[in-house]
Amino acid sequence: MLKTLLDAFALISTWEVIIAMFAASVYGLVIGSLPGLSATMATALLVPVTFYLSPIAAIATIVAASSMAIFSGDIPGALLRIPGTPASAAYADEAYAMTRKGQAELALGAGVWFSAVGGIAGVLSLMILAPPLAEIALSFSTFEYFWLALLGLMCATLVARSSPVKAIAGMFIGLLVSCIGIENPGGVPRFTFGITDLFGGIEPIPALVGVFAVAQVMRAMLTPEPPPLPRRKFGSIMAGQWRLTKLYHWQMTRGNIVGIIIGVLPGAGADMAAWVSYAMSKRFSKEPEKFGTGHVEGLVEAGASNNASIASGWVPSLLFGIPGDTIAAIAIGVLYMKGLNPGPTLFTEKASSMYAIYLMFIIANILMIPLGIAMIRVAAYILLAPRSTVMPIIMLCCAVGSFAIGNNMFGVVTVAAFGVIGYVMEANGYPVAAMVLGIVMGTMVEQAFVTSLIKSDGSILPFFERPVAAILAAMAIGALLWPVMVWIWRKVKPAQAVAATTR
């Protein structure tokens, strides 16, 4: 244990890791603070850079950039009422109301402080939850993996803030994309239409860059430019945060716990965590009437929640290769590339790397406090950069980055195609996160499904025979039937109401 910890320290105390982490932090802070550029996009554009780094440095950049970007999205939210990332959207109104009351420092300070606290709570959950779960997961067979994957996919559709039917459709589209190529049980070219480039299948990373970066540039083409940030002098940013921590320690803890739970659920990430926690905070507050008028309570809870979900999103990713959120989906791609294939054995065979990940999360969240304060002070200058200078650079990064993934122009075509797909889906209410989950998990789902079918020799019984498999199956089927039941219930209820009034 101690030796592993020392090994982990040795792994992260190289110049490469330190520089990578610092640079990625600054990068994450800048991207997160620019409205329209999300944390997922920041992470996706980092991937080509990670190819050229050592495994630990590569993960360091993702950990640092994603944590920073989630906090940094609070800055334009509080100062302009435009959330920098979707994860800050839940409480941008509240933070802006505080700024108008002259409490910008308190709002932004709460953003930094409770983000850092939330992040560290998330890491603790990762450290505590992952090893025992790995222990259980070691005994999993393909049946359990099949149900687990199905449950993961269903979760993503349940929590989507959209029609569950459309979310399931999005998931199926993602699974269909993963069918392309010759990497299937028969090794035959499937859905390749004779195009050689498609034989290798659709790489998840260019698809993600397309869905999250190109689609965003496409949306920017049709939306008006956000207004520039008024320059202002800030007082002490951390003043009063300790008092808030003591006053709202219960809200903070609840935010952390909700964030951790939502992070672990596949497909639901920081934005969902913030929405749920903000709503909970309002629901259980002693003074709910103050919400919306610039009350810090909701900020505390939601800020603690969205950053907690970032680290806990890595739990299912590291254990099963099932992404806890879209950022973790990208991280999984990088993990595979770096030879750290997700799975329960990761915690025994590569224990020092796992400890290194925990340590990096803790360092990133501590680093967030000084860097975040500096960022708040210079934000006015960074937000001066008009969209017409940022978006072209993003375009170039998309083109070069997707080319670099395989040194192949087909990557650029993939990015362009998925930009269009992501844009059209988003515009019509199909959640892209569900599709992303399908693409990332498709191969695994199919392998588990087909191997299980071959093992069971056509019988369906073995899918339910093992105790863990039976439990997972019950949960997955329940999740599948849930929207149907809600729909029926909604249909029946008005009928009953009508019957009651006519009686």
Partner: protein
């Protein structure tokens, strides 16, 4: 690009049916009941079912309409000028990426990238005073990071970089 649910749903029905059929005609693995054909078959049927459900408006009640955030005290952002072709502007970024695929090898990275930056920047409302220097400088910066530092083999084409 907001299409009626009946259109997107019907598209999904067709896509799902095509996928299921495409899976069905795949050759099975000899001597094995399940092969590469099962998974697309299942997914295709699922997708088609979802498409049908969407056409009939099932689950529509769960959708939340996206609310526009007014900029300042309820005064909404000025609606952008709406022409017939305005919506097509969204297709510019993917079109530029395809342009990169076709032109980069012949023109080289620097020139292609400069064109992409200039067009994107202008489309987003930049004046030439901003767009031109940006187009002249940013390709070199990107080339420095990706080409020189990360050793991505970017095409030299007509205008090789000085390093």
């Amino acid at each position: 690009m907001r299409l009626p649910d009946s259109v997107t749903g019907s598209f999904l029905v067709v896509l799902g049916a095509a996928a299921a059929y495409g899976g069905y005609i795949l050759p099975p693995v000899p001597g094995q009941p399940v092969g590469p054909n099962v998974f697309p078959l299942v997914i295709g049927m699922g997708l088609a079912l979802c498409g049908l459900a969407i056409v009939f408006g099932i689950g529509h009640s769960f959708e939340e309409e996206e609310e526009l955030v007014p900029l300042e005290d309820g005064q909404a952002a000025a609606p952008p000028p709406q022409g017939k072709l305005y919506g097509l502007r969204a297709l510019l970024p993917p079109a530029l990426l395809l342009f990169y695929v076709l032109a980069a090898d012949r023109l080289g990275f620097i020139i292609t990238a400069a064109i992409i930056v200039y067009v994107t920047s202008t489309a987003l409302g930049a004046k030439w005073k901003l767009a031109l220097p940006l187009a002249a400088l940013s390709p070199f910066a990107i080339h420095l990071i990706f080409g020189k530092l990360l050793r991505v083999p970017l095409p030299a084409g007509l205008l090789p970089t000085p390093w």
